[in-house]
């Protein structure tokens, strides 16, 4: 473990925490430095809980957390000098101006980059002398992002940053995220429902559902492994039981088969059974996400 120059933004092992109606179970997760992780899950999947545990904002029952090379919770204070955290329900002082907030954050964090803050003001079309209470929801979110980005954190954690942002503001946000990883010693973790944003900018994609990790791997191999096959199944032909097949529907003449591990062996097995593959389609991250969650729920029951 090297705190000055860690190889990973974070490493999480066996993370567990129970609530009355929810349990985060044995979560393993890691993000190499210089990468962006898209953290995707339905409402109530445990995304925010995981983030809060990672940042030491709440205590785990079991498991180990290393954040920028420091142990959480023991050394979390040191780690958090280089971590910025943004959620969509973050409250700022309504009666104070954005300029006041900028001075306040600058006084707390020596890494504050005043020049970059001024650039962001312009790019986000915000007014430093405006009071936070007078800002729209999107402007408020951009103000929070500005305060986080201008600290030049080594790890930026964003919980649902794009919810409530219009398409132009989302575009601006994604541009800033990509600016961060121009430097290969900075990383971003962002949770989102917006799979199109995640698909575009993430290096690593993690799916979580009902407190359990469904899958976590680099985006290219993620998208490469999943395919949907349209298959002509002549009368009397029965599709064999195949590995890594998430779903077959309907079991009729023209079947749609979804696989999480597309490879030549699969198509050969289907053709050997007497069926004909009509089309092989790639899947979007959103389609993969839904299929993957539904598949893991079936297994889990």
């Amino acid at each position: 473990m090297n705190a000055a120059n860690p190889s990973h933004a974070f490493v999480v092992r066996g993370l567990t925490k129970s609530f009355r109606y929810f349990r985060l179970e044995n979560l393993n997760l890691e993000l190499p430095m210089g990468q962006i992780m898209g953290f995707v899950g339905p409402n109530g999947a445990g995304k925010s809980t995981t983030i809060r545990l990672l940042l030491g904002l709440s205590g785990a029952e079991a498991g180990e957390i290393e954040l920028l090379g420091r142990r959480v919770p023991e050394q979390v204070a040191e780690a958090k000098r280089d971590v910025a955290y943004v959620t969509d329900d973050m409250r700022l002082y309504g009666n104070a101006t954005l300029a006041w907030h900028m001075r306040f954050v600058a006084s707390l964090f020596p890494g504050w980059d005043g020049t970059y803050a001024q650039e962001l003001l312009k790019r986000f079309n915000l007014h430093a002398e405006q009071k936070l209470a007078g800002m729209s929801r999107g402007e408020h979110m951009k103000a929070v992002l500005l305060l986080a980005l201008a600290r030049r954190p080594r790890l930026l954690v964003l919980d649902e940053p794009t919810s409530g942002l219009d398409p132009v503001a989302r575009h601006e946000l994604l541009t800033e995220l990509m600016e961060i990883v121009r430097d290969d010693s900075r990383s971003v973790l962002f949770s989102s429902h917006h799979t199109l944003d995640v698909e575009r900018v993430s290096d690593v994609i993690t799916f979580i559902d009902r407190g359990r990790l469904v899958d976590s791997r680099d985006k290219e191999s993620f998208l490469e492994r999943w395919r949907r096959l349209q298959i002509d199944v002549p009368a009397g032909v029965q599709l064999p039981k195949l590995p890594d097949v998430i779903e077959v529907s309907p079991a009729g003449r023209l079947a749609t088969l979804t696989t999480s591990n597309y490879q030549p062996g699969l198509t050969a097995a289907i053709e050997d059974a007497g069926a004909r593959i009509h089309e092989v389609q790639r899947m979007s991250l959103e389609e993969i996400f839904v299929a993957s969650v539904m598949g893991s729920r079936k297994e889990g029951v």
Binding site: G34, H171, T175, M178, V181, D183, R200, S202, D203, E220
Partner: protein
């Protein structure tokens, strides 16, 4: 197509309605710029992280595109020194060759769907060459 791009002359423009995966769009656009001679042998191309930031596409996607272009001998990447278009003079023609193979393969696939025989397909190609390929 309309893009809100701050970089006026981006090497690559990504389309979200293009069904091809992002890495393939990146790869083919770079190839195309070489094939038409806009990028010449020895020309520098942006580093992986720079291009990723410019077009707002993940680093891993650009990395994959560059890696495949390198394996195909189209570009050279030197660690820490960025990437350049390969110094092979025949490159332009070999890329066009590859483009031709792609189009022919696509034509052969469609012909199969239309149940055309090999002879019929070849005859259609002849018609196109003679300039009366418009007849459906």
């Amino acid at each position: 197509m309309y893009t809100v791009n701050t970089v006026s002359h981006s090497l690559v423009v990504i389309s979200q309605t293009d069904p091809r995966p992002l890495y393939l769009q990146v790869k083919e656009q770079i190839r195309h710029r070489i094939a038409v001679g806009e990028l010449k042998p020895g020309d520098e191309i942006p580093s992986i992280r720079q291009l990723a930031a410019d077009i707002r596409v993940s680093v891993i996607t650009i990395k994959r595109a560059y890696l495949e272009l390198e394996l195909e001998g189209v570009i050279h990447t030197r660690h820490g020194r960025g990437s350049q278009v390969a110094d092979n003079l025949n490159l332009g023609s070999s890329l066009k060759e590859q483009e031709l193979v792609q189009h022919l393969t696509a034509a052969a696939n469609v012909a199969e769907l239309l149940h055309l025989t090999e002879e019929q397909l070849i005859e259609r190609l002849r018609q196109v060459r003679r300039g009366n390929g418009d007849a459906k």
